[in-house]
């Protein structure tokens, strides 16, 4: 069930309404039933996988808390990781592994492996697996007491707003809230709905509109060069941001309507002054998961520079692989790791050079310059993320630099890339709205709070403007290929 589907528009109000109507004691069971129903709308069979992941990590949590010897605790953590990662590997990386093994075998003229089954990736498996594994470690570290109620724990793993595309919640945050009593608060409902509306705007008005140009160019890259590729690549940066951030916003909004506060997953990432800052602002729930459960256990930056760089590369290559079983994602992750290593290695030199030539880094232009450079680096890495294969990515980069063709802005070519003038205008205006909203967020202004202080007519005007912008300008309906949220595939 997609957030941008009619089913969800019926499902969600019913779930939220009954949630408040039912006695507190059984509310979590209702949410659990609703969450499994939500998940089973994709494929009922895969709910078994989620149930298995739930039971295995729940059991591990109980044993970890009961064992006194650290080695036994470690054993249970290891067991929990092995089993769950094995399942994730099978469903997500099996084909990739077989293809790569076959590539090696064919190089040596050996017989190829030909598995007789076709593996389909269960939606959201990377998200709930990581969330459940995070819980195991949290119990091991005694950050949280193990949840004894299996059903409540099952709800933690399957909570429908964030089940299939995050945020990857921490047990300390979500399980605690699942135990609490939530009262109906109009503020929560209003704020939650606003957050959802903003999410729908990002997804339906911006991301899916930008997708027309991105898909046109990237799926036929041989026909495009120079600025056409540049425009598509820049737009992909906004497409993926709006696509993914929208899911998080709708998820957070839906949870807030029911009184739950999910963690923020994006914090104006394209305003970052460096690649490392970008990763503190982009997909925060995953970045912090890798930081807490991989980077720090590997030694983080405590074991010398070389080890720190090694750890960084491990984290980012694995983060790339987490996003997809393809070399394009590995390169994308590796590139982001490499940026940070080079950034760290050249930090002193860059500071020296900029002070020597009198560059002021703290003023607006200095910050803007750094943000633009960071955006350029990140956007370059998105080419690998979006390209259909490594070969395509290389050709796209070649085509990007092979021709200087500014005339596409004036000879009408711009409007042959997938959007006509009217849609292009809407896209540009929507990006301006995104920029304004992001700027206000960046300087610490809480827009929803500010809006709630305004008069009724003004608030209603803003609400209806947003609502009808989505209803009229959104890309949806029968001609719309119920284009899924990009992050569902991960």
């Amino acid at each position: 069930m997609l957030f941008n589907s009619l089913q969800f528009l019926i499902f969600f109000p019913v779930v939220a309404l009954l949630y408040y109507v039912l006695p507190h004691k059984v509310r979590y069971i209702w949410l659990l039933v609703a969450s499994y129903f939500f998940y089973m709308c994709w494929n009922p069979k895969y709910a078994l996988l989620m149930a298995f992941s739930t039971v295995s990590t729940y059991t591990a949590g109980l044993f970890i808390s009961k064992c006194k010897a650290t080695n036994w605790k470690k054993l249970w953590v290891g067991l929990s990781f092995t089993v769950n990662i094995a399942i994730l590997f099978f469903f997500k990386y099996f084909d990739f592994a077989v293809n790569n093994i076959n590539a090696c075998l064919s190089a040596w003229n050996l017989e190829l492996i030909n598995p007789s089954f076709d593996v389909i990736l269960p939606v959201g498996i990377s998200f709930y697996t990581f969330q459940a594994l995070g819980y195991t470690v949290d119990v091991y570290r005694k950050d949280i007491a193990p949840e004894k109620n299996l059903l409540r724990y099952a709800l933690f793993v399957s909570f429908f707003p964030q089940l299939v595309a995050g945020p990857i919640e921490r047990s300390g945050n979500l399980i605690t809230q699942l135990r609490e009593r939530h009262y109906f608060k109009t503020e929560n409902v209003a704020n939650g709905l606003m957050l959802m509306l903003w999410g729908f705007f990002e997804k339906l008005v911006i991301a899916d509109r930008a997708a027309y140009i991105v898909d046109t160019v990237y799926n036929n890259y041989a026909s495009y060069t120079g600025f056409a590729i540049l425009i598509a690549t820049i737009l992909f940066a906004f497409q993926i941001y709006c696509d993914f951030a929208s899911y998080s916003d709708i998820a957070r909004g839906a949870a807030l309507v029911m009184g739950f506060n999910l963690m923020k997953n994006f914090d104006t990432p394209y305003f970052s002054q460096s690649v490392s800052e970008f990763w503190r602002r982009w997909h925060i729930s995953l970045s912090s998961w890798f930081r807490d459960y991989l980077y720090i256990p590997l030694g983080g930056n405590r074991k010398g520079r070389v080890r720190k760089y090694f750890n960084l590369m491990v984290v980012f290559v694995l983060s790339g692989l987490w996003h997809g079983a393809s070399w394009t994602f590995v390169i994308w992750g590796g590139l982001n790791g490499l940026y940070q290593i080079i950034g760290d290695m050249t930090k002193k030199l860059r500071l020296k050079v900029s002070s020597a030539i009198g560059v002021r880094r703290g003023n607006f232009s200095g910050k803007l310059g750094k943000a633009l450079i960071t955006f350029a680096l990140i956007d370059f890495s998105w080419i690998f993320f979006r390209a259909n294969s490594l070969h395509d990515a290389v050709r796209i980069i070649k085509n990007l630099f092979c021709e200087f063709n500014p005339w596409i802005f004036t000879d009408g070519t711009l409007f042959t890339l997938g959007l006509d003038r009217a849609d292009m205008f809407v896209l540009l205006m929507s990006l301006v709205v995104l920029l304004v909203v992001s700027s206000l967020k960046y300087v610490g202004i809480n827009i929803r709070e500010k809006l709630s202080e305004q008069g009724l007519w003004f608030r209603f005007a803003i609400y209806f403007a947003g609502l009808f912008a989505v209803l009229i300008l959104g890309i949806y309906g029968p001609e719309y290929d119920a284009s899924q949220f990009i992050y569902f595939q991960f």
Binding site: L6, T186, D420, A422, D423, L456, F460, Y463, F464, L467, F468, L471, I472, L473, G474, Y476, G477, P478, E479
Partner: protein
Amino acid sequence: MNNVMDNLKKIAKAVLFIALFVVLYTGSREVLRNKSESEALGKIFTMPNESYSVVLAGPSHIQYGVHPSVLKSEYNISACNTATAAQSMPTTYYVVKEMIERHSPEIVAVDLFCMFYPEVYFTPTRFHQAIDNFPIGKNKAEAILDLAEVSKSEFFLNYMLYHGRWKSLTRTDYTVTKEYDETSQVLYVTTPFENDFVPLDKAIKNEVPEVPLQYLKKIVDLCKETNTELILTVIPYRADVDNNDVTGAYQQSIYNKIEEYAQDWGVEYINLLYHLDDMGFDFQTDMAEFSHLNESGSMKVSKYFGKILKDRLEN
């Protein structure tokens, strides 16, 4: 006390918000809605109950073939034309059902052109042209649930389909019209054909496809239940020309088979392809193209068919 007042204020705001939303939603839906020639159907549905004694139903053949204004001026018959382009027989069944419940007409005349088509509708667009004009209610819901093969939601919520028209809106989209302009149902072009059309031998028959036959029978049963006289008809066209890979001869053989059914059911069957001389029909001057009548042809057919209707109403 303060709490109660606060809660009342919140409820009032919520009600105001919902009311404003409904107004804006309805208004914008009306602007965005696709205004096509099938607009007439929507206007007919909004007429006061029991406005019509004759209901004409079916595809574009009868839409451009029989004019209620002629029936009114020549025979004082209050009639309406509920036809829409390529309206399939299953769709026609629901149109007729709605019209019988709404207007209790004495006669329903159904054009049989679409009987050759074996599916529930030609394309979703064609189904939209009819169903989008239905008033919200049981028949609309039944029709969608029964017939819609693609996403049913797009038929319940037209907004999903039409919101994309925002960039092609014109002045007319913002104009509110209560009456439909019947002249939009008239084709003023002429394509001359030789007067060499010979109807198929009535002995040549072919089985009628199952789906349209099933719904035609439902119309027959419905009319019997409601004491509504039913006339099955074929409006003239060049039925010797192939259309969408279907030969005109095949279509005529279907009509011949339906005549046999009509006799069994006790329903009147008037295939106007066999009345061309009586109408003074001239293929040189009366066709807009091979399938539809032009203004001249439709006047002749309207007058001729109107006379038949007048007779039936009087007897």
